[in-house]
Structures are given as C-alpha cells and as structure tokens.
C-alpha cells in the first residue's frame, strides 16, 4: 500500500502541482481547465477519482504540492470515498497541503448532518474548508455559472501558491494555522429545520 508522500520527490522549478480528488469527476475537469490558465507559474493539475493512486504512474508523477478533495454534499458516496482516500495519504500532507472543497452546499437535497460531518472532519484534520458552486445548482442566472469555477480557482490558487513555496515568507504550515477550519462547540446540537 503506497502512501502519497509529500517530500519523497524533488520540487519543480517555478511550478506547482495540485491533485484534485473527486469521486464523481465532474467538477474537477472544469476546475482543472481554469487552473491551468494561470500564467505566472506552471500549474500541473492531476485528477484522480480516489486514492491510492495507481502504481504505474509512480515514476512520472511529480511531487504533489496540494491535494484538494472535492466533496459533493448531495451524495454520500462522495463523502465516504473521501474518507477512505484520506487513509492513503501520508500524515505529512496534513500540515497545510490538504484542503477540502465542498460543492452543492446550498442544494436542498444535501442533508445538514453531512455538512456537519465534513466540517468536523476538516476541523479534526486542521485543514481549510472551501465552499464552491458548480454549475448544476445555479439555475437562475446564467451569469453565475462560470463564477463558481472562477472563485474556486482563485482560492485554490492562493493556497497552492503557498504550498508550492511561491509566496515568500509563507509556508503551507504557517498558512494552515491561519486558515484552519474550526467547529463551533454547539455543532452537536440539532439544527432548526
């Protein structure tokens, strides 16, 4: 069983490598297209459905600077697959090189307990939790649909730049202290429906 290790390879010059893990493989494609538009440095995006990653790409794969898990709140499978994938990640990644991205949080089909569970997961692992929109749930204004991807891209790029060392005087560990998601103590109480 191979764990994905953060420091087992040499870093790339002026580049950042990000791994998007999503069990449904819908949002990650549009996100990837938007991410590679960045021109200040080279962004290499690797897509995966879940971890562990297949062994045959082991040699050609560059060092992954940031692992972003995309969880769709309307599907339980997404959450469970993410939880299973977390076990295949070396603990060294959780010091600022992992982030969780949640989509469809506004959808009525998303149960609140799942959101709480994701929040608790992110808080226990001290990782940032981002909320994004993908195209499906926004039906009212067509202008909104590309913005969800743009916003997600911007925020991911911010974290990615720090994780790849491209921001002077900031390391991923330092940023994780500033962006860690916390869970308020009353999250166990039943919410009002």
């Amino acid at each position: 069983m191979s764990l994905l290790k953060p420091f087992s390879k040499l870093p790339g010059l002026n580049s950042a490598n990000i791994l998007l893990v999503e069990s449904k493989e819908e949002f990650q494609q549009s996100l990837a297209d938007a991410l590679v538009q960045e021109t200040a440095f080279t962004v290499n995006v690797r897509l995966a459905k879940s971890l562990p990653l297949p062994m045959e790409n082991e040699e050609s794969r560059p060092r992954i600077d940031l692992v972003a898990f995309i969880i769709d709140l309307t599907s339980e499978l997404s959450f469970q697959s993410t939880e299973a994938s977390l076990k295949c990640l070396d603990p060294g990644y959780f010091l600022g090189k992992v982030c969780f991205m949640v989509t469809n949080a506004r959808n009525a089909a998303a149960p609140i307990e799942r959101l709480d569970a994701v929040r608790k997961l992110a808080a226990s692992l001290h990782c940032p939790l981002l909320f994004t929109e993908d195209q499906r749930c926004v039906m009212f204004s067509p202008l909104q649909t590309p913005d969800g991807v743009t916003n997600a891209t911007e925020r991911l790029l911010t974290i990615l730049k720090v994780a790849a060392g491209l921001v002077p005087m900031a390391t991923a560990l330092y940023l994780s202290n500033l962006t860690r998601s916390t869970v308020s103590p009353d999250i166990d109480q039943p919410s009002f429906d």
């Binding site: 590679v36 897509l47 990653l53 491209l166 005087m169 390391t171």
Partner: protein, 239 residues
C-alpha cells in the same frame, strides 16, 4: 491493504493529467535567458521548499508528548511570536530599502551628469514645495487658533446669557412674592381679628337676646327695641 484490493479496484482508479493550455512561462530545465526577477523568484521558491523539508526533518527528530489543548495554546503563542517577528523583519526590510534608495540617489547626484541635474532640479522643486507646505500649515494653524479663540468667546457669551436669563426668571417670580408675603401676613392677622370681633359681637347679641327674653319685654311695640331685635337676627347664632 493487500494487492488484491488494488487489482480489484483498478478500474476505479484512473489518474489523468489535465493538458496545460496556457503558455509555459519557464521550462524547468535549461533556461538560458530567464530574466533575473524570475531567477530570484525561483530561488525564493526553492529556499521555501528547502525550509519546509528542514522543518519536516526537525519535527521528526524531537518528539515529545503533550496534550492537545496544551499544544493548541502553545501553538497560538508561537503564531503570535511569529507574527511579531515577521512584522519586525518587514519593517527592517523597508528601512533597508529606503536606505539603499537614498544611497543610490546620493551616488547619482555625486556623479553630476545630465540625469543628476534633472534629479537636482526635482529635489529643489520638492524642497520649495515642502517649504510652501510648511508655510501653509503654519498659517492654517494660526487660523485654527483664532477660530478656537472665537469659539471660546462665543461659549462664554452663551454661558453669561444663560446666567442672566436665569437671574431674570428668578426676579420675575420673586417680584410678586415679597408683597404677597406681607400681604398674606396682614391678611391673616386681619382675618383673625375679624373672627375675634365677630365672636364678640355674636356673644354680645346672644347676651342681649337673652336679656330681652328674660326681661319679658314686649319689643314688637316699641320701634327702637324692634329695630335692635331685627338686627340681632342678621348674625347667625354660633356657639
């Protein structure tokens, strides 16, 4: 997990590489004409990465056990300390840059070529503007003082006016007062006297009535007695 799981799940694990459409700014190997800014950036990135790896190694060496809450508290302390040091470093860097700038400007001026002349003209203009600014600031300060003075005087005036109004109110309310005081006293005394005399009169009348009755005088026939008896009826008989 054993390899059989891997084989079974292989069709689920597909890893793809997204093609990069954007122009690659720097290829990672063999850049001949990379501008110095990019080189500096890459150097900073590498130093950042090396720092992270060093931190990782360091963390592996010293292991001590402590509770999570204690670690959390210590962590916030360390982050504060880190912020403080970063601010100091940033300020020092700014100061250093300023000093370097001034040194460069000084060197340039010393060299005394065309650009230095332009620089000197600019700095002279700056000096003139600065002295003009100082002058204007002085004037505005004088004006401000005057304004403050006038405001103080106005406030004083207001206060005096207020006091005078209060005094006037007091006087108008008191003006009727002393007369009514004496008046009341006199009135009361007069009324007391009146009561006294009234009682005396009533008593005398009662006595006269009693005498008339006792003497069994026929006062109806005599006109003088009748008048006196009539007047007795005017006053009420009081105890």
């Amino acid at each position: 997990m054993d390899p059989s799981d891997n084989v079974g799940n292989l069709h689920h694990m597909v890893e793809a590489v997204a093609p990069s459409y954007g122009p690659a700014p720097d290829s990672s190997t063999g850049q001949k004409d990379a501008p110095p800014a990019d080189m500096l950036r890459i150097k900073q990135q590498m130093s950042n990465q090396c720092f992270e790896m060093a931190v990782q190694l360091q963390a592996g060496k010293s292991k001590r056990s402590c509770s999570t809450s204690e670690a959390g508290r210590e962590l916030s302390e360390y982050v504060n300390e880190l912020d403080r040091v970063k601010t100091i470093h940033f300020n020092s860097t700014l100061t250093l840059h300023r000093m370097q700038m001034w040194h460069a400007i000084g060197e340039k001026l010393k060299r005394n070529d065309s650009e230095a002349l332009a620089l000197k003209a600019e700095s002279n203009r700056c000096m003139d503007l600065c002295s003009r600014i100082k002058q204007l600031q002085q004037e505005s300060r004088v004006f401000q003082d005057e304004i403050t003075e006038i405001q103080k005087r106005r406030l004083e005036m207001k206060r005096l006016t207020h006091e005078k109004m209060k005094e006037m109110d007091e006087l108008t309310s008191k003006a009727g007062h002393p007369d009514t005081e004496k008046y009341k006293a006199v009135l009361e005394r007069g009324q007391a006297n009146l009561e006294k005399y009234k009682k005396m009169t009533v008593m005398t009348q009662n006595v006269l009535r009693g005498i008339l009755l006792a003497c069994k005088v026929n006062w109806l026939d005599d006109p003088k007695l009748r008048d006196i008896a009539m007047t007795l009826e005017e006053f009420s008989i009081s105890d």
